[in-house]
């Protein structure tokens, strides 16, 4: 074969991510604001190094996470530290409805600390397939947190 060995030619087809999700990931990769990316099934398919700094684990360590995996690992949590159902926070409702949203809640880092954050979510919608997911930027509310 003239081409160098690379991907396995016999492996099954991959599910190519929509271009708008690829571009959103490229953007997040280059931001110093913490952020993560959801696909249309609400799976966290990427978070950037700045988010890893807050969460205490890198994306390379966790890989993609379903909504249930994410919420059992990182939250969201109420101000008193009790778990919030991910389906009951306004961000989730808004994303499902294709609207941007902003909210405040707490998350639990892998270091065991709870971090109050603000988060802004923007749905990613493009023709021809409609909603591809959402990009969520967040930042800690501590005085020494970024962008605050």
């Amino acid at each position: 074969m003239p081409s160098p060995p690379a991907e396995d030619r016999t492996s099954p087809p991959i599910a190519q991510r929509p271009l708008e999700l690829i571009l959103a990931r490229n953007l997040l990769t280059n931001l110093s604001t913490p952020g993560f990316l959801l696909d249309s099934a609400a799976t966290v398919v990427f978070y950037n190094e700045a988010a890893a700094g807050v969460l205490g684990r890198s994306f390379e360590d966790t890989g993609k996470m379903s909504a249930d995996e994410w919420s059992s690992t990182f939250g969201p949590l109420a101000p008193n530290g009790s778990p919030l159902e991910i389906d009951r926070i306004n961000l989730t409702d808004a994303i499902r409805a294709g609207r941007p949203a902003h909210g405040e809640f707490r998350i639990r880092s892998a270091r065991g600390t709870e971090v109050p954050i603000e988060a802004s979510a923007v749905p990613i919608v493009a023709a021809p397939h409609g909603s591809s997911g959402a990009m969520v930027l967040f930042w800690p509310l501590e005085a020494d947190g970024p962008s605050r």
């Binding site: 074969m1 003239p2 081409s3 160098p4 060995p5 690379a6 991907e7 030619r9 087809p13 991959i14 599910a15 190519q16 991510r17 929509p18 271009l19 708008e20 690829i22 571009l23 990931r25 490229n26 953007l27 990769t29 280059n30 023709a127 021809p128 397939h129």
Partner: protein, 297 residues
């Protein structure tokens, strides 16, 4: 599947004696399917002379990757457009802003043009490319949005078990090095995977690329890495910068072959898009006999 390059230049036509071998016309590739049906990919200035070759062809399909001028400029000078017996179907990317016809008509209308689309003697129809695979002349065709500026498609054409992938304007390494990305996150990966022939953007040298990051085009190393990641069997480097002379492109070709060898590939599998060049998509890449490799692909 046979292929002929009628224009391999990017951005703007680049005529001149120092461009004679690679040619100065902008993007246009003719694909002849096993059924005899013809597809034309992109309508840069190269399509004008191609049209002279299609004097008796009644039904013509044109696949547009996007509507930048170097990919549509030849449409207004495409001889079949002025034949009443010609039936032309133009496929292209959809946009939420306006229909394909309305967007093309911005060029084929006053004050840029002496004629309007509705005045063309041919029968012309405009079709957004479907989200799923479709068929023309027995070939399966698939399009997919790829990283460039504005809505832009790549095409994958499979005919008689041979696969051609055409991504003339593409910057898959924008923001993230291709070496580090999983396949699902590489723009165009699924489209180009295992292609017998990949025609891919290579507008810049690696030295030139940093000055043009975000312009929607690739440097040579990114083009090669993309081809390696998708396991393309042959690679035709395309969309040459209008400043690149024949001598410059010869050097770029030598560099590309050397790097492909370093990646573990056969250097003969890397060719340069050259106006007038013809090849069979499924044929084995030629040995790099210098004159032949530079003259005809």
């Amino acid at each position: 599947m046979r292929l002929k390059v009628w224009g391999a230049r990017g951005s703007v036509p680049a005529p001149g004696p120092e461009m004679n071998r690679y040619g100065g016309n902008t993007s246009c590739v003719q694909v002849t399917l096993a059924s005899g049906e013809e597809l034309i990919i992109d309508a840069g200035t190269g399509i004008r002379t191609l049209g002279l070759d299609l004097a008796s062809r009644r039904r013509i399909h044109i696949l547009l990757t996007h509507l930048h001028l170097d990919h549509i400029q030849g449409l207004m000078f495409f001889p079949p457009c002025f034949r009443s017996d010609a039936e032309i179907t133009i496929w292209g990317p959809s946009s939420p802003e306006a229909s394909l016809e309305d967007r093309v008509a911005r060029y084929i209308s006053a004050p840029l043009s002496p004629v309007e689309v509705r005045e063309l003697p041919c029968s012309v129809s405009f079709r957004d490319t479907p989200a799923s695979e479709w068929e023309i002349g027995g070939a399966s065709i698939r399009s997919q949005a790829v990283t460039h500026r504005g809505p832009t498609l790549g095409y994958r054409i499979t005919d008689a078990e041979e696969t051609l992938c055409y991504i003339s304007d593409h910057e898959p390494a924008l923001g993230s090095p291709l070496d580090d990305l999983e396949p699902e996150w590489i723009s165009g990966f699924d489209l180009a995977r295992d292609a017998d022939l990949l025609i891919h953007d290579c507008q810049y040298t690696d030295d030139e690329y940093p000055e043009h990051a975000g312009w929607g085009h690739s440097g040579v190393s990114d083009a090669l890495t993309f081809a390696q990641r998708v396991a393309a069997r042959r690679l035709l480097l395309f969309h040459h910068d209008p400043l690149h002379t024949d001598g410059f492109l010869d050097d770029l070709h030598a560099t590309a072959r050397r790097r492909w060898t370093e990646l573990g590939g056969d250097p003969a599998a890397v060719e340069m898009g050259m106006e007038g060049g013809e090849l069979e998509v499924g044929s084995v890449a030629p040995e790099p006999a210098v004159e032949a490799s530079l003259g005809r692909i």
